[in-house]
């Protein structure tokens, strides 16, 4: 518990970003939903359309909604030019605003529909214009119900804003995602406490405003509004004067190796006098397009990933040919500079517990062919959709009894606890050695190679200083060194390291 209290002060800037993002989304949602509700109150068709649309948005998982704005904004660059941000604040704001619409809209429409008929007739009878009727009668009488909707929207939005991390917007999701991937539970809990605390505080403040409106107490209403405004202003102030000069942004996908390499790259650039920023825990699908569009500047990607996902190839021409093809393809199509290979592979490999493999007499994928029916295979969330899996399945005729998805860090636990018999492991993962796992041979060569490549965005592709700072990393990291660093971050005992510490040790080991 003490760890959590120590971590909380360090989250102040994430909290400020979280407050600014959530408040902007709710504010924007109010600006859209309230006039729409007035319109809906005058037209049943608009009412039905607006409410079904808002409900439809709610059925999309928040994580997917956030990710969908990336390609959408990317395609909108054709209209608004290259300056349109595709990651970070803008897409997060848009997705969260859509999410906040429904409760505000629904409560505002319901409040209007439930206004006393007699009161509305009296408003006409005393000679109010439509506008006077709205301002003097409908708005004040609906206000407490609308406020209740805004409260609901605020709690949802503050919760969903933690997911903004996946599209590169700093938020209280940063410690949660980073902590989940590196099994740093104190960090996860600190992030959760902070966002839950924020949601509770917002809910109570807005409740005071709601009660103030219902009891027509100006003191409660304006007092509540003043405290909310102060909180938002403080967050804006804490965020500082906004972006001055653009820093070099280093991306990492959501697993330990990526966090470590991002820190390693960042440390080298800082030593060379550059200012850097990290976008940790990005969705795997987002990273490649984000580098290509210079939304981020540096990423580490893997040959096999690019080969299948972006070149859409399913053949396997061998390790070297694959790399040179990708390097030329990137230069030709996206303008991304592939600086080189770091020296290790993080390929998919199938792993089993040693005792289980021995009992079943399995040493290679070919041995599984007849036995898979009684076994459970575990994979990361995208694995069973990937062409590698389809290639392996077809090459060895594998029909597993059950297949289950696990977050990468939990796959190994699942293997230990027997919830999975075979998992799709990664060759650079430290836990293969630590858990004494058996990696099954691939005699048919169905799995492609996964050399780690250093990718530079078109924006910095020609920056000689950056290239000079990063060139020594090429070919410098062996798979053993990477495994050791990954294990140091993933382990749960006293030798557990943060990604930054692991990156320092890795740099020393690599002689940098």
């Amino acid at each position: 518990m003490n760890d959590i209290w120590d971590l909380l002060p360090g989250l102040a800037d994430k909290l400020a970003a979280h407050v600014v993002l959530s408040a902007s989304a709710i504010g924007l949602a109010m600006l859209i939903a309230l006039p729409m509700a007035v319109w809906a109150g005058r037209s049943p068709l608009v009412s039905r359309l607006a409410l079904s649309l808002a409900s439809l948005v709610q059925t999309i998982p928040a994580l997917a909604l956030l990710a969908l704005f990336f390609p959408l904004l990317l395609s909108l660059r054709a209209v608004f030019g290259e300056g349109l941000p595709t990651l970070g604040f803008l897409p997060a704001l848009m997705a969260l605003t859509l999410y906040a619409l429904l409760p505000i809209l629904r409560n505002a429409v319901t409040a209007q529909a439930n206004l006393d008929e007699g009161v509305l007739e009296a408003a006409d009878g005393v000679g109010m214009t439509k506008w006077q009727k709205l301002v003097l009668v409908e708005a004040p009488l609906s206000a407490p119900f609308i406020m209740a909707g805004i409260r609901t929207a605020s709690v949802w939005t503050i919760g969903a804003a933690t997911l903004a991390t996946t599209i590169g917007q700093p938020s209280l999701g940063d410690p949660i995602f980073a902590g989940l991937q590196t099994q740093n539970w104190a960090l996860v809990l600190a992030g959760c406490f902070a966002s839950a605390g924020l949601a509770l505080a917002a809910d109570n403040l807005l409740w005071i405003i709601e009660v103030g409106l219902a009891r027509r107490s100006h003191r409660m209403t304006w007092g509540g509004i003043a405290v909310v405004a102060l909180g938002i202003l403080a967050a804006l102030w804490a965020q500082g004067g906004g972006p001055e000069e653009r820093r070099i942004i280093i991306a990492s996908k959501s697993f330990s190796e990526q966090y470590i390499l991002a820190q390693l790259i960042g440390a080298r650039l800082e030593a060379a006098g550059y200012e850097v920023d990290y976008r940790d825990g990005l969705g795997s699908a987002v990273v490649h397009s984000a580098v290509a569009s210079s939304s981020i500047d540096i990423s580490v990607d893997y040959t096999g990933t690019v080969w299948t996902n972006y070149l859409k190839r399913s053949d396997n021409p061998g390790r070297e040919a694959m790399y040179t093809t990708i390097r030329d393809w990137e230069a030709r199509t996206s303008g991304v500079k592939v600086l080189g290979r770091l020296g290790f592979e993080n390929a998919y490999a199938f792993a089993m517990r040693a005792d289980r493999a021995k009992a079943l007499g399995v040493t290679s994928l070919a041995d599984l062919t007849g036995k898979a029916g009684e076994l459970t295979v575990g994979g990361d969330p995208e694995f069973f959709e990937r062409p590698e899996w389809i290639a392996v399945r077809n090459a060895y005729g594998l029909r597993f009894g059950k297949s289950r998805n696990f977050a990468p860090t939990f796959m190994y636990n699942a293997l230990q606890s027997g919830e999975a018999d075979v998992i799709s492991a990664y060759t650079s993962d430290g836990r293969i050695a630590a858990d004494k796992l058996v990696v099954l041979a691939d005699p048919e060569g169905a799995l492609p190679s996964y050399d780690a490549m250093l990718m530079l965005s078109p924006r910095i592709a020609g920056d000689k200083g950056v290239i000079a700072a990063l060139q020594p990393l090429i070919g410098a990291i062996s798979v053993e060194a990477m495994r050791e660093a990954n294990l140091a971050v993933d382990r749960e005992d006293a030798q557990k390291r943060t990604p930054r510490q692991a990156a320092e040790e890795l740099a020393k080991k690599a002689g940098l």
């Binding site: 008929e117 509305l120 408003a123 003097l136």
Partner: protein, 260 residues
């Protein structure tokens, strides 16, 4: 003797809502003059079109055909806000604004016209409907039904209207309150020299308060008589069916008294 120009004139008024014709018939619309100073009751069964016809006066309903003249001017050419200040409106739903105090409710019409009613005027209006000046600060939900409708009447009178139109004004009140408030309105009608049109389905109320009774049936005006003439059997079948109810009730009550 020369007849004064009517304050209110319905001239061939027909009101249609889609397929339904609420006021008027195939033969033609409703035409009728109402003289300044008269107290007219508009009586009919539910759905006879009496409320709809009344609402054409303050343009809450717009006639599909024909026109309504108020002081010689077509009401559709007058600004609604100004027209509604000159026409006090009291209706069954009362419709006091729950977020306004009694004083604010009474003062709303003048306020919309940019005029602020002084507290003395509020007290005066409250006195007219026999409410203590202390009521000014209360909120509507602190009042009884009868008190609320008294405030409703005071609100209708606040702008100093020439015409008072009332749509089932006492419909939701208990019989004792109803009788007291009816008498009060009649008294105010005399005192303030108002012209009053009251819609009601209760013929007894119409006969006791009005000096002229119009009877409507399925959109048409079927009788236009004084209360005395109606009691004497004039006005045709629909009017007599309505008038027979209170007459027979009165006779039965009188008989009970004799036997008792």
């Amino acid at each position: 003797m020369e007849t004064p120009a009517p304050l209110l004139r319905f001239d061939g008024v027909i009101c249609r809502f889609g397929e339904v014709t609420a006021v008027g018939t195939e033969v033609g619309g409703v035409s009728c003059d109402i003289a300044a100073g008269s107290f007219v009751a508009l009586v009919g069964a539910s759905g006879s079109g009496k409320s709809t016809l009344l609402k054409t006066v303050n343009t809450l309903v717009h006639p599909s055909e024909g026109r309504v003249l108020f002081g010689g001017e077509d009401v559709s050419t007058l600004k609604p806000a100004r027209l509604r200040r000159r026409v006090g409106y009291v209706f069954q739903g009362i419709g006091l604004f729950p977020h306004f105090s009694v004083a604010e409710n009474i003062a709303i019409g003048p306020r919309l016209a940019g005029e602020k009613l002084p507290p003395e005027r509020i007290a005066e209006l409250l006195a007219l409907v026999e409410l203590d000046p202390a009521f000014a600060k209360r909120m509507p939900d602190e009042l009884s039904g009868g008190q609320r409708q008294r405030v409703g009447v005071a609100r209708a009178l606040a702008g100093g209207p020439e015409l008072l139109i009332m749509d089932e004004p006492f419909g939701a009140l208990d019989p004792v309150t109803r009788d007291a408030l009816g008498r009060k309105v009649r008294e105010l009608h005399e005192r303030l020299r108002l012209t009053t049109v009251m819609v009601t389905h209760d013929m007894a109320e119409a006969l006791l308060l009005a000096d002229r009774v119009l009877v409507m049936d399925r959109g048409a005006l079927v009788a236009d008589e004084s209360p005395r003439a109606l009691l004497a059997g004039a006005g045709g079948t629909v009017a007599q069916r309505l008038a027979s109810v209170p007459r027979e009730q009165a006779e039965r009550l009188a008989a009970m008294e004799r036997e008792g």
